[in-house]
């Protein structure tokens, strides 16, 4: 059942929030020992919130489609009175006094907070194999990573523990777990959703967005969280719109860009075939496929990595003396950032301007771009290198290769599951749009995927 289906059932009185919440908690009890997707469960508080929601709904005081729906948050979003660790030993006992803006907005929309999801330490990595809180496991194959850094959010949604789990994305951290776990992951435009109260990693690269089991669900969540927030200096004042696409939207006449360079150059053949099938489906629905060359994504990724190294080390500077409190991979990245000269960071921000301008020219020729989200399906836990098309590649660099640059450009992108490989592991398709074109990319996504994503057998 999707979030919007549950919302309809709630409105018709066919189910209560208490029942939906009890079912989510039961799923967590049954499946969390195997997946470690949830890092903290607030069962009593969730039951109480559900009871309140049922009372409000019974009185006709419904607050919209999220009212009474059990949801989870990546454990880097501040939750008032609920521990927020960011997957780090440093914040292991941190209890915020405020809700992050996205938490507050979902609470005010009536959502029921059931708990916090596991993640890569400090959101600085893509495996979610956390040295302090244990490895999150992929519900499709528990020997494999769920991706990251929002790995617990991807795994929890795929396994049916929550209708939605909020994630954050600095270099692919919503879209990678969406791809590896077979769910929908939406990274909105930079500025569309407030970052206030999300533990920062890369100030100018961090994005906040939902992971869900349907495209329409992602739109419904975006409806609740999008919009100006004076507490976030990068928040946009642009008016929001309705982001929930029709059940069967038209994409007739839309120009869909097919990159001729970079994105299809080194892929698992099954991933390549799946994305090309998606292009065929889009064409059969009236979309016009436009082959084109995209700017140098390798260079864009280089600049994004440089900025992230500097920003992450700056964000964590007050804690860097506690070296034994960090996992080895995160510490190595933080050390690299400390060694980066200030002019390199500034020049990276200057290059970003140039690259943004170059990339913007694409949108005169196409309405969106189709690419794979990740070049492979989920790697095994513990793997540090992977072989793709005969070449060895670092797992982290491979997983971020097709997604990281979009953070530098601040563009909206959604990953949707599109088929699976010979082992039954999900394949992700990435749809990228111009700034603030969330409604458009969700419409295209909805035209391509079934109403609800496939569910793993656990």
């Amino acid at each position: 059942m999707t979030l919007l289906e549950a919302a309809s059932a709630l409105r018709r009185g066919e189910v209560s929030s208490a029942e939906l919440t009890a079912a989510a908690l039961a799923a967590i009890e049954r499946l969390n020992p195997a997946t470690n997707a949830m890092q903290l469960v607030v069962a009593d508080a969730a039951r109480a919130e559900a009871h309140t929601a049922d009372g409000e709904l019974a009185r006709g005081a419904g607050r919209g489609p999220l009212h009474g729906i059990p949801v989870a948050f990546k454990d880097l979003f501040w939750t008032k009175g609920v521990r927020t660790t960011a997957g780090s030993k440093i914040f292991a006992a941190y209890v915020p006094e405020y809700d992050a803006t996205v938490v507050a907005r979902l609470r005010s929309a009536g959502a029921v907070l059931i708990g916090k999801t596991g993640m890569h330490e400090l959101a600085y990595g893509i495996t979610s194999s956390n040295p302090h809180f244990g490895a999150v496991r992929n519900p499709w194959d528990r020997d494999r990573i769920p991706g990251g850094s929002s790995g617990g959010s991807g795994a929890a949604v795929a396994a049916g523990m929550a209708f939605m789990a909020m994630g954050s994305d600095t270099g692919g951290s919503i879209r990678i777990p969406a791809s590896f776990c077979g769910v929908v992951g939406l990274k909105p435009t930079y500025g569309r959703v407030s970052r206030y109260g999300a533990m920062p990693l890369g100030f100018s690269l961090d994005h906040v967005g939902p992971l869900t089991r349907s495209v329409r669900d992602a739109g419904a969540v975006l409806n609740a969280i999008a919009g100006y927030d004076p507490q976030d200096g990068s928040s946009s004042r642009r008016p929001v719109e309705n982001y929930v696409p029709d059940m069967e939207p038209s994409i007739r006449g839309l120009r869909i860009g097919l990159p001729e360079n970079f994105y299809f150059e080194r892929l698992d053949p099954e991933v390549n075939a799946a994305v090309r099938r998606a292009l065929g489906t889009a064409e059969s629905h009236g979309g016009e496929i436009v082959p084109l060359r995209v700017p140098d994504i390798h260079a864009i990724n280089t600049v994004a990595r440089t900025i992230l190294l500097g920003e992450a080390s700056a964000a964590l500077e007050p804690h860097l003396e506690k070296r034994d409190q960090f996992g080895a991979d995160v510490l190595a990245l933080l050390d690299q950032g400390r060694l980066l000269p200030a002019p390199d960071y500034i020049n990276a921000q200057r290059l970003r301007r140039v690259m943004q301008r170059e990339f913007a020219a694409l949108w005169t020729r196409v309405d969106c771009l189709f690419t794979p989200t990740t070049p492979t399906t989920a790697p095994r836990i513990g793997e540090t290198t992977t072989t793709i098309a005969g070449e060895n590649e670092d797992v982290r660099l491979a997983a971020t290769r097709l997604v990281r640059g979009i953070n530098l450009l601040g563009l909206p992108a959604v990953s949707i599951p599109y088929g699976s490989d010979r082992r039954g592991l999900p394949i992700g398709l990435q749809i990228i749009g111009p700034p603030f074109a969330e409604a458009l990319i969700l419409r295209v996504a909805q035209a391509l995927v079934p109403a609800e994503v496939p569910v793993p057998q656990l």
């Binding site: 435009t189 500025g191 990595r305 050390d335 060694l339 980066l340 200057r350 140039v354 563009l411 603030f436």
Partner: protein
Amino acid sequence: MSKDWKKIAKASGMGISEEGLDRIAQTLDGLEQNFRPLVRTLQPETDPAPVFRAAPEDAA
């Protein structure tokens, strides 16, 4: 111009192990190799953005 990352790290007293230094130096060398040629393409009039905007007209 290649940089001696190990010397820089040691001079800044960061307390990184020898093994850690090897790994970091290798990664930073790789990044440097890709990044430096890009910097050479920058025009003097290109400013960095103090607050990044996804669309230039979107200033709050």
